[in-house]
Symmetry: C2
Subunit: 214 residues, 2 copies
DNA sequence: CTAACATTGTTATTTTTGTAACAACCAAAC
DNA sequence: GTTTGGTTGTTACAAAAATAACAATGTTAG
């Protein structure tokens, strides 16, 4: 299908992931069809935006009946998921890393966390929520053996550039960096960074502004 | 100052927060001046974008000498921070909530987590990283007594709309929702939502696409 | 002294994202 | 049957964000 080959807008990809998650909930409640305005209201966006996103992936609903929930879930699956799923590792099995491991695993069948890495001897060779924690020295070896393609970085901030460098050498194709220090990767590696402090400061700025403080 | 009153672009606010964080690191290393291309390279963006952001906040550097690190930090402070700081609470003291509490507190002097809330009796009236956890029933009372203006939601997803509703009633002015279920708030409350699953699926999509998989 | 250069600040352009407008359609009501 | 109404898919428009272009300026090299 030509459409799934051309790159979708970033934001559309994000929304598709969210649509799917909520569509699964709808399906489990026995809902078989859904209107664009229903999807929109779940996500607090406009129906037009929903229809536009679905247009981009070439899905056509039925007039006055809406979209077939199951079909749509499957179509989004063919777009977002890789056939055999992708393997993920977490570098830095601290507070945040452990939270993520215990939270993610088992939820998305196509994305599995298969390894953790840490430098702290107390964590190495322990198992967290079913995930083995290896020493950071084994990074390349384990990544290549297991065929890991995505890494989540949750080490102390100052370590993240160093960690990212090793991940690239080891051959991962995508990195999700939760450290407030941004990292540098070659263009063929997809990088997503998110900084919780920044988010909080942003909320704080707009709260200040809206409240007309000082 | 007229400039700080007009609303800055969302993305600029985010970047200012990040600039400041790294400028503080520079300052602690004794660096007194910095060029736009240096700031840019720290954040993997272009020097033009840095200059544009600084233009928007009305800061002027010195030609061939760059920006005064200390001055710039202070100016960003006057823009992002509220004079007396803002108080923050965390609703849902589970894995993620506790991570956030222990991570955030003490880092940003102007934003302090002053309370946690949970429904689980085992957590109520315990103290986590110096933060008292109250029963959810006390939400409004504590928020008003302490003057909390910002809330972070880290309860199980299906609870988040209910929690958000109570937070609005209690009078918070900003909400940061880490739940994958989005919530509805009146326009005077600033809402920021972030969904880690979506981020991971987005990385996965682009990894798949870049690798030319299937 | 002058030319070349590095760097800033600003305006113009392009790209991305979101919103609005509207034609097409078909089911139901009358 | 014809009209009404709700809903889709698409095109046209607007807003936000990023990038490029470039003038201004003062420092350094010759
Ligand atoms: N905890 C949070 O809620 C939170 C929130 C926002 C951002 N973050 C960011 O996430 C990162 C981790 O935070 P945390 O609270 O989990 O810290 P943490 O100290 O609990 O965990 C960090 C872990 O990384 C390990 N580590 C250190 N160097 C390493 C290396 N080179 N290779 C592999 N592992 C290494 C440490 O042994 C430790 O286990 C930090 O950069 C922080 O800024 C955390
Ligand atoms: N843990 C993670 O790394 C992670 C990652 C991404 C998203 N999230 C999201 O964060 C949320 C929490 O995740 P978690 O792993 O911390 O879960 P958790 O089960 O460890 O924690 C949830 C906490 O919320 C409390 N709670 C339940 N209902 C409540 C209510 N009405 N009011 C106040 N407290 C209530 C529970 O008692 C529990 O302590 C979830 O929505 C999850 O989707 C978590």
């Amino acid at each position: 299908m030509a459409i799934s080959l051309r790159s979708l807008p970033d934001k559309t990809v994000e929304r598709l992931s969210q649509y799917r998650r909520n569509l699964l909930v709808c399906l489990s409640k026995g809902k078989q069809h859904i209107f664009s305005h229903e999807i929109a209201s779940i996500h607090n966006i406009t129906p037009v935006q929903v229809r536009r996103d679905l247009m981009l992936i070439g899905y056509t609903g039925t007039l006055r009946k809406g979209y077939d929930v199951k079909e749509l879930i499957e179509l989004i699956g063919t777009i977002l998921d890789s056939r055999d799923g992708l393997k993920v590792c977490v570098v830095g099995v601290g507070n945040l890393g452990r939270s993520l491991i215990s939270y993610f695993n088992g939820r998305r069948s196509k994305l599995t966390i298969v390894a953790g890495f840490d430098t702290n001897p107390e964590k190495v060779d322990k198992v967290y929520a079913g995930v083995h924690c290896y020493h950071f020295d084994k990074l390349t070896e384990v990544i290549q053996r297991e065929g890991v393609t995505i890494a989540i970085i949750t080490v102390p901030a100052e370590q993240s550039p160093h960690v990212a460098e090793h991940l690239v050498i080891a051959g991962v194709k995508g990195i999700l960096n939760y450290t407030p220090k941004s990292v540098n990767v070659p263009p063929q590696v997809y990088l997503e960074e998110y900084d919780m402090i920044t988010s909080l400061e942003k909320v704080s700025y707009f709260v200040k502004k809206n409240s007309g403080l000082e």
